[in-house]
Symmetry: none
Subunit: 412 residues, 2 copies
């Protein structure tokens, strides 16, 4: 008998009918002789609706009470799914985050899981029950209800899979797998049979919204094979695991893109050595996520510094920089909006030095200006004008022949 963790997101449990359909997917695994732990999110728009109620009272509701409010969403889903399972003749038990022993940091709205006390879940599995756990929520050391922040239910599922040593963690969602690029916008985008944790992590961080990066990180650390698959159709999904078992050995495995990027440039930073550190320490202290950094020395004793951030963080970043202009020691700060990021990801890049060059060459052939570049061992990111984003993604996708299955490295 194998233990499997399944996770169904908000869209998959968006109505009573859908919850009953989820029950049949759970039952398939039980009938195959498996022990099953199911993690669910709040139904469809429930979380948005609860948010709306709170913001009718004030636009700054306190985080503790918001956690108290939002966690009712998953609690509704676990009880309804458990009712559905029992009405179909299967034994089940629903558990809130605290009942499932999901212990977190003592922080509201974005706590990290510190430990899972699995005794209760294991007992119920031994009794032959399906265990239905509320995702996204936990309890801290002071018996306070906490939430894990965006994509938290993925994290709950992977953390449970790791703690319970399950053989698999299946993430059911409204897409049927991980694609080489977003099929809504990119012609030839194709579902991948497999992808490595690191590649998935880069894709998740680069705006491919299928999985939360923290969940992928957790899966990687604990070597849990993750599958992303459709909750609607009975199709093979995409398996995320360590690279060795992947059937395809692509140099580039995916093209990701993300709009609403801003480039901020600081001119005339006086002290190059301490100035650079001070700028990013100050931004980090204010929880502003800086992505690509470019640093150039233009004249004696004066440095220009560019970095990219998300447009949603621009106001706060500008405020922080202006307030600290004297202490940071720079002449002026400017920013450019209307930008986007296009990235390629693939473990094969490490051993193929020409990959970045091919991407730049392709973009240049089509007259697309590259504003910033950042590379890692398994990705190349470029910042381009927003209006060029989709075209850039499309031609790069074609340049690396991602529309066709490849079995060996291939470079033009």
């Amino acid at each position: 008998m194998s233990l499997i963790v399944q996770k169904f997101g908000g869209t998959s449990v968006g109505s009573v009918e859908k919850i009953q359909h989820v029950a049949t997917r759970v039952i398939q695994e039980v009938d195959n002789g498996n022990q099953v732990v199911v993690v669910v999110s709040a139904m469809g728009k429930t979380t948005d609706e609860l948010f709306r109620l709170a913001t009718e009272i004030t636009n700054k509701p306190n985080k503790r009470d918001m956690d108290m409010l939002l966690t009712t969403g998953e609690q509704m889903t676990i009880s309804l799914l458990s009712i559905a399972l029992q009405s179909k003749g299967y034994e089940s038990v629903s558990m809130t985050g605290w009942q499932a022993g999901i212990q977190t940091e003592a922080i509201h709205s974005k706590a990290r899981i510190t430990h899972i006390e699995t005794a209760r879940i294991s007992e119920e599995l031994e009794r032959g029950k399906v265990v239905v756990v509320a995702g996204f929520q936990g309890i801290d050391i002071n018996q306070e209800i906490t939430t894990l922040g965006r994509g938290g239910s993925d994290t709950t599922a992977v953390a449970l899979a790791a703690s319970l040593k399950s053989v698999r963690c299946d993430i059911y969602t409204d897409v049927d797998g991980v694609y080489t690029s977003d099929p809504r916008y990119i012609k030839g985008a194709r579902k991948l049979a497999g992808i490595s944790y690191d590649e998935m992590l880069e894709l998740a961080n680069l705006g491919a919204g299928v999985l939360h990066p923290r969940a992928v990180e957790f899966a990687k650390i604990h070597s849990i094979p993750l599958t992303v698959r459709s909750s609607i159709e009975e199709k093979e999904g995409t398996l995320i695991e360590e690279g060795s078992n992947l059937e395809e050995n692509l140099v580039v495995r995916g093209v990701a893109f993300e709009e609403d990027i801003v480039r901020v440039t600081i001119f005339g930073l006086e002290d190059e050595i301490t100035g650079l550190a001070s700028v990013f320490t100050t931004l980090a202290a204010n929880h502003i996520n800086v992505d690509i950094i470019i640093h150039s020395r233009t004249e004696l004793n004066s440095t220009n510094l560019s970095f990219s951030i998300k447009e949603s963080e621009l106001d706060e970043a500008s405020e922080v920089l202006n307030q600290n202009q004297a202490s940071l020691g720079f002449k002026k700060v400017e920013h450019e909006t209307g930008l986007a990021k296009v990235s390629i990801v693939g473990s094969g890049m490490v051993s193929n030095p020409g990959v970045a060059a091919q991407m730049f060459q392709t973009l240049s052939e089509y007259g697309i200006a590259i504003k910033m570049v950042s590379t890692s061992e398994i990705k190349v990111s470029t910042v381009v004008n927003r209006i060029d984003m989709l075209k850039a993604a499309q031609i790069v996708h074609e340049s690396f022949s991602l529309e066709s299955l490849q079995t060996s490295p291939q470079l033009s």
Copy 2:
């Protein structure tokens, strides 16, 4: 500084606007220098709505999951009320039943409170916070979420008042006090300034929906003065306390009525001595509440037994009886639906033996058939046909002149 417990029911917290209004009622008491614990129910129709979701799946959802589902209702309200209090500049802390230390029996859907671990609440009150507690819910010894059954939030409030030794427990509701009968149906029904615990207990048990009987019982045992008052208007309510302080000394203080009564009759119960005990022990073990019992010996070695129950418990009662027919030893069981109960309540009855007779006389004058009768020291209940219920209540109300304030016993 006095400690006050306030309770606001579902109608009083039916919308975000109403919750903000409740916040102002709480703040009044805080501004008067009091420590306040507020108990709230689920918003308006939330509980019905959650019920509906479950019954879309099955008409027999299991009780454990129903408790899990329904308790989300009060959890929503506590967070929204706490957000409202904080947005008005008052410190508050919301607590679910388990966080508030409300420990109950290990039974779902109608658990009794066994103990309240008040340490956490007391700590927060000491810190100057308003404590907002979810009514209707608790936790059992197995860390399971339980509910207290109908009217459970009243019980939560009174139990907290008793455990915290509060000076007062104010039950805010959509009616402005306790009436001689239901003013929506009975002409001349009048608000009472005061009523004793015992009278209120009988009225509550007899279907006068203002307060839950268990809450009244708790208040009586712990001598907590209860006030029932309007959450909308600033009016005097009805004070429920020990009889001595009541301004009015009515023989009959109220007329209650309740529909959906079923009479169950067991024919040919073989062993009169052990059989009677066995029947009611079996029903009690299955948590079926039997009200009026009539027991008549018709022939040698065979007894017929009638009792009334609520229509909602008929299916379960029939099932229990049929399953145990052999061991209980009876010939057959039948039931009659379409009945109702009309009762009079008043402490003055004890010393006025003609009260029951006057009620029967009145009903008989108007041609209303009495199907069953039950009396106690302070009440007389009659079971009549459902179609006669309101007429019976009206003529009895008039017969005892309840529409006018009386200061001394008066019998026709």
